[in-house]
């Protein structure tokens, strides 16, 4: 539904988007990740038809956004960063305006406004000026505006930024509920969001795509992916460490004050072996835990170019 092919955009000497390609299919929620200023918003503005790319192209529903701008804008719901809206209007007049621009009139218009207001639960504040609303409600007004015409393609720039945990949860539930019959592109710099709503994530840094995969695939690129943490008293750890180093499949063992971390060699699983070993030797340990890998680590590694340690690191460095 969204296809981006070798997109480039520069602002003077700054390259905001550099050769970015990816696609989003129906039913997918693509998380567009990256540090602030990485070029996420610029790329989204190009897809939404607000900015023209310098080179490359963006297709929405098979239509080129620069050639068929108006047609694309009809099929697309877009919430710009910060969900700007006309502050002096009330949600109901604002949504009415959006509905008129989108070609709704009469009963249809009322229906569209009611539907969008229901979905985003704007009920109580429909007749209050937008400038008096809390940030959470303003964000919902912005979302309602993007959803009003039930678009096939939805682009949301930082939909949960600045919301409290409850509001974030609501926003994510809403996005997940809409996901099956739409193609959704959301940007965020919150990694928890990816696991919570996205079926795929693209990480972008300094305008370039540095990683593209499902949340699980990205986690697998963490240096601590499948590492085993053993929590025990210091003397136990001291006896355990050399034994683990000899164990088949274990790469590197790091001993800390109250825990040790055993990272497996590439493609090896050592959790069960370590469990068995600890039980056989009757060692006094409080916990043996398998680490799936933190997206944070992957994010930091791929966006700052920091060298990863361990086997998984070598794999990420090859990519």
């Amino acid at each position: 539904m969204i296809e981006i092919d070798r997109l480039c955009k520069r602002f003077g000497p700054i390259v905001a988007v550099d050769d970015v390609s990816f696609s989003v299919a129906r039913g997918e929620v693509l998380g567009f990740l990256g540090p602030n200023g990485a070029g996420k918003s610029t790329a989204m503005k190009i897809v939404a038809g607000f900015l023209a790319p310098d080179s490359g192209r963006a297709l929405v529903c098979g239509l080129d956004v620069t050639e068929h701008g108006i047609e694309v804008k009809r099929r697309l719901g877009y919430m710009p960063e910060g969900a700007p809206s006309y502050n002096e209007m009330t949600p109901v007049t604002f949504l009415g305006f959006i509905a008129s621009v989108r070609g709704f009139s009469g009963i249809e218009k009322h229906r569209a406004v009611d539907r969008a207001a229901d979905m985003t639960r704007l009920g109580e504040v429909l007749n209050q000026p937008i400038e008096t609303l809390s940030r959470g409600y303003k964000r919902r007004v912005g979302l309602a505006q993007a959803l009003l015409h039930d678009p096939e393609v939805l682009i949301l720039d930082e939909p949960t930024d600045g919301l409290d945990p409850n509001q974030k949860h609501e926003m994510r539930t809403l996005i997940r509920d809409m996901a099956p019959d739409k193609a959704i592109l959301i940007s965020t710099h919150l990694l928890e969001e990816v696991g919570a709503v996205c079926s795929r994530a693209v990480i972008i840094a300094r305008g370039r795509v540095v990683a593209d995969g499902t949340p699980a695939e990205l986690e697998a690129r963490s240096p601590n992916h499948n590492a085993v943490f053993v929590y025990a008293p210091p003397q136990t750890l001291r006896t355990l460490a050399p034994i683990l180093r000899e164990l088949d499949g274990v790469g590197e063992v790091e001993v800390g004050d109250d825990s040790l971390c055993a990272r497996p060699r590439e493609g090896c699983e050592v959790y069960d072996k370590i469990q068995v070993l600890v039980r056989q030797r009757n060692m006094l340990v409080s916990e043996v835990r398998l680490e799936r890998g933190q997206l944070d680590d992957v994010f930091r590694a791929v966006t700052t170019g920091e060298a990863l340690t361990g086997n998984a690191g070598a794999k990420a460095a090859e990519d």
């Binding site: 607000f50 700007p84 809206s85 305006f97 008129s100 989108r102």
Partner: protein
């Protein structure tokens, strides 16, 4: 068409949602009245016409019309709604036209509210109402030219004050082009053709041509061209500067 109507309506209603409309109308009427009766010596002239009223319009608009126009695009840029507006199925040209027309309709209302003056002259004597109607039409068209300049400069910056000052400055140049102050500066050394061109490019002289009571085609064409030129520039500036 429906799209433009929606943008027009929103823009027009916005004037009345904020105090801007009421403040503007009150100031416009107060200034128009003051200038007509005191500086224009409406009663002392002893003539039943609105000439003193209309002769101040180029100066009145110089101050007030950029104030209406300054928010048209600056505000959208400042609060980021330009991104919302231009990602709706609206072309930049449609948005520029709809906003301009909304501001123009608003000035038309302010101008129409000066009708008590027209009632006054009709009560006091028997004026040539044809001339008055032509003057009103001319004044409205001239206001459109001022507005087009203002809208264009509003697209240039997200700062409304800068937009206002730039627009007022350019309007001033257009307004005084035909006055002796400017023309005398050129007489003596510039060829007569140049002086005539400068004079003919002024809002003032073209407005006077219409206000005489004959709808002067060349003056109409002149104002239409000014409006078209600045709206065209407006479209280009919006596209050029929308990304800040």
């Amino acid at each position: 068409m429906g799209v433009m109507l929606a943008v027009f309506r929103r823009e027009f209603v916005t004037y009345f949602v904020t105090p801007l409309a009421y403040v503007f109308i009150v100031i416009f009427l107060a200034l128009a009245g003051t200038l007509t009766f005191f500086l224009g010596a409406f009663f002392d002239r002893g003539q039943a016409d609105l000439q003193p009223f209309f002769s101040f319009h180029p100066w009145l608009y110089l101050l007030l019309v950029p104030a209406i126009a300054m928010r048209l695009w600056s505000e959208e840029r400042k609060i980021g709604t330009i991104e919302l507006l231009l990602t709706l199925p609206v072309s930049t040209t449609q948005a520029v036209l709809a906003k301009f027309l909304a501001a123009w309709a608003f000035t038309a209302i302010a101008l129409a509210l000066t009708f008590p003056l027209w009632l006054t002259v009709n009560y006091l004597g028997t004026p040539d109402n044809g001339v008055i109607l032509a003057s009103y039409i001319g004044s409205l068209i001239m206001a459109g030219a001022y507005l087009a300049v203002g809208a264009c400069f509003s697209a240039l910056t997200s700062n409304q004050v800068i937009a206002f000052v730039l627009a007022a400055l350019v309007c001033l140049i257009f307004a005084v082009g035909g006055t002796p102050i400017v023309l005398e500066f050129f007489t003596g050394w510039a060829p007569a053709g140049v002086i005539d061109t400068i004079a003919s490019l002024s809002f003032m002289s073209n407005f006077r041509a219409i206000a005489r009571g004959v709808i002067d085609v060349s003056a109409l064409v002149y104002f239409a061209s000014v409006i078209a030129f600045f709206l065209f520039a407006n479209v280009i500036l919006v596209d050029l500067y929308k990304a800040r």
